[in-house]
Amino acid sequence: MADHKPKGISRWLFTTNHKDIGTMYLVFSFIMFLVGGAMAMVIRAELFQPGLQFVEPDFFNQMTTMHGLVMVFGAVMPATVGLANWLIPMMIGAPDMALPRMNNWSFWILPAAFGLLLSTLFMEGGAPNFGWTFYAPLSTTYGPESTDFFIFAIHLMGISSIMGAINVIVTVFNMRAPGMTLMKMPMFVWTWLITAFLLVMVMPVLAGAVTMMLTDRNFGTSFFDAAGGGDPVLFQHVFWFFGHPEVYIMILPAFGIASAIIPTFARKKLFGYSSMVYATASIAFLSFIVWAHHMFTVGMPVKGELFFMIATMLIAVPTGVKVFNWIATMWRGSITYETPMLYALAFVILFTIGGFSGVMLALTPVDWQYHDTYFVVAHFHYVLFPGAIFGTMAAVYYWLPKWTGRMYDEKLAKWHFWLSIVFVNLTFFPMHFSGLAGMQRRVPDYAIMFSDFNMMSSIGAFGLGLMQLLFAWILIKVCILEKGEKATDRVWEDAEGLEFTHLPSPAPYHTFDTPPKID
């Protein structure tokens, strides 16, 4: 088939091509990453010194709320969906995603949803200011007018995610080339399959939570109002039933990426493939029965606290299996350190630090001290920034030559990596200390004794922000200015997977119209 690409803007608006849709997801998520990052800069500027400097406390709260929402739903999730779109069909030898038109709808809902969400910043009474977890009654009785727009924006994001997830599941189950059995699939496909399952299971629960919020706010129901026989804590249960699997939705694809990259640059097969699959599935299962560890201080019965503590600590077991497998993959490998490998290594090490602080937080009596402090902020930023986002960056460097046919600027990429490593740790590591010393999260001011740690965090954050502009420049050079060496079809020595072994670089617009034979 001729490599026919439609021209102009309508190519993107009306496309049914998984590669186009993948590109749009990635570009959209990068824009949202910069928007959410700009909000983080406002937060860090305000926290640079104690006292109130630049913004009103209410606007500060809007920034923390919007930063969280934009990063979770706008940056991290769409980035991994973009990778899924680009890679899954090529990895399993399929001509496209199973339901191509729905695929495009999933994407185009996102700009609508985030247009709606960001427009609340300009509304009277300001944007949502109750934190990205939107606990009742802050979001019901005390929420600003714009909360109703926020609720519908969340509904749109949910519709988009559910359709996207259904598409991934069906593609993986139904579109594999003959011979591509489930246990031959690349780990990235496995982790995304399980991610998609989690999405289908929990996004509707989030829809339920915001629907109850909507009716509590506007139609006189009392789901979250004790005076009517409801309970504000009920909101937290419903929210975290979604929220905990959600964190695995963000991290599992990064697990798959690390499992693809480390074997290539260690020049060894992935150690313990099937244990990786079972570990991922176990993590997904456990993610459904640990949600109340986010709520140890709400006054749950002690038996409940015990159950959720033990279940949470169990997650360390399959996660440990994965980390040890990555290490064993590298054991006695002939490792080279190209940028994707550096990011994957940083991912393994720094994500594990985030995992350790997670185990600390899982201990109920300890959590009573840490709850809502910067220690928690340090924990989840370690699993999200050097975890999910470094994972995504590793993937972009790894597959970019396959997508564009050109190598990125390795020298600049190394700068990007090493400076990012310095800044990411400078930003988030001191938060462990300020948190343990008792600094509260989501407050624009703090006691003088936290000044040094906060100044370090802010300097790191500004540097980390700048690094993303460098990242943008590296991408622009390859994708728009079309500079860089031509990539070979295999791109990396010994890279495995159909996208490297069966397809040229750049991958043609339509691939695998007839399925490849896999032995």
Binding site: T16, A112, P204, T215, G220, S222, A226, G228, P301, T514
Partner: protein, 297 residues
């Protein structure tokens, strides 16, 4: 459609460019924006909501009629049909989880919150200081405290053995008639197929009519409204969302009746019909759970 043996190399239909998804996103944006304005009481702007819904209805009907056309033209392989089937199954799974959120809220409220507000375990102070006169019971017929809405302060709970029991019988019977229709489809008995699909759709309409009657009765004679505390909230939200799904299922069945009358569907290839049937059975199962947990217990 395709009766070929070798599905392995049969080409998978990747549709050409389509304007519909983009139009659908505009429809959703207008609907969401309009709905948010509307719930805030800004009724003059309600036209935005209606415009959005109109765009969505136009988009979905165009989309589905084009898939029907593509299916009739034989563009879909057996593999494509499997994609649709699996997609529908996962869509229904997501719907199950949506109801699970509300059922979860119901169980949590009934089993735990009632007790706690009544002063059990370490909540004696909550009860004694906040709501000393309130006695927890389910079904709840009065709120513990003052609510900030104009609903009646106490109400009658909805019994199970009047209309709701009749409605249960209707829905269970409709599952039965739908299965007869499905078997008729497999046996190429088109008369029975059309008749029993239509009967099922009619039963759906009757169910909805009775449900509306029940709501009117609740609002006008029992003092039971959406604002009737946690009981009213869970009662109306669960039955209301179920009713919405019955409405969608009924429309689905009406379309299927018309398609059967047009001679669509063969024993081998009738994905849309099966999807409608699955959806209907799902709505049925949800009702049975509702009947048990909302009405009877």
């Amino acid at each position: 459609m395709s009766e070929q043996e070798n599905t392995e190399y049969e080409k998978y239909y990747v549709p050409a460019q389509s304007k519909l998804p983009f139009i659908g996103s505009i429809g959703l944006l207008l609907t969401a924006y309009g709905a948010a304005r509307m719930v805030q009481g800004n009724y003059p702007e309600a036209y935005i909501l209606y415009l959005g819904l109109a765009v969505l209805i136009y988009m979905l009907s165009t989309w589905w009629s084009s898939t029907i056309r593509e299916s009739r033209d034989g563009l879909y392989s057996a593999q494509m049909s499997r994609s649709f089937r699996q997609g529908m199954i996962w869509f229904i799974t997501s719907e199950v989880m949506f109801f699970a959120a509300f059922f979860g809220a119901l169980f949590y409220g009934r089993v735990l919150v009632m007790e706690w507000l009544g002063g059990s375990s370490n909540n004696a102070a909550t009860h004694d200081f906040l709501y000393p006169d309130w006695v927890p019971s389910w079904p709840m017929t009065a709120t513990p405290g003052e609510l900030n809405n104009d609903a009646p302060k106490s109400w009658e709970a909805m019994g199970a053995w009047g209309l709701p029991a009749i409605n249960t019988a209707i829905l269970l019977f409709s599952s039965f008639t739908l299965t007869i229709a499905h078997h008729a489809l497999l046996e190429k008995n088109r008369q029975t197929l059309i008749l029993f699909t239509a009967i099922t759709a009619a039963l759906g309409c009757i169910f909805l009519g009775l449900q509306v009657w029940e709501y009117i009765h609740a609002y006008q004679e029992m003092g039971l409204t959406l604002g009737s505390g946690f009981y009213g909230s869970t009662f109306f939200m669960l039955t209301g969302f179920h009713g919405l799904h019955v409405t969608v299922g009924t429309i689905f069945l009406i379309v299927m009746t018309l398609r059967c009358a047009k001679g669509h569907f063969t024993p081998k290839d009738h994905f849309a019909y099966e999807a409608g049937a699955w959806y209907w059975h799902f709505v049925d199962v949800v009702w049975v759970l509702l009947f048990i947990f909302v009405y009877v217990l």
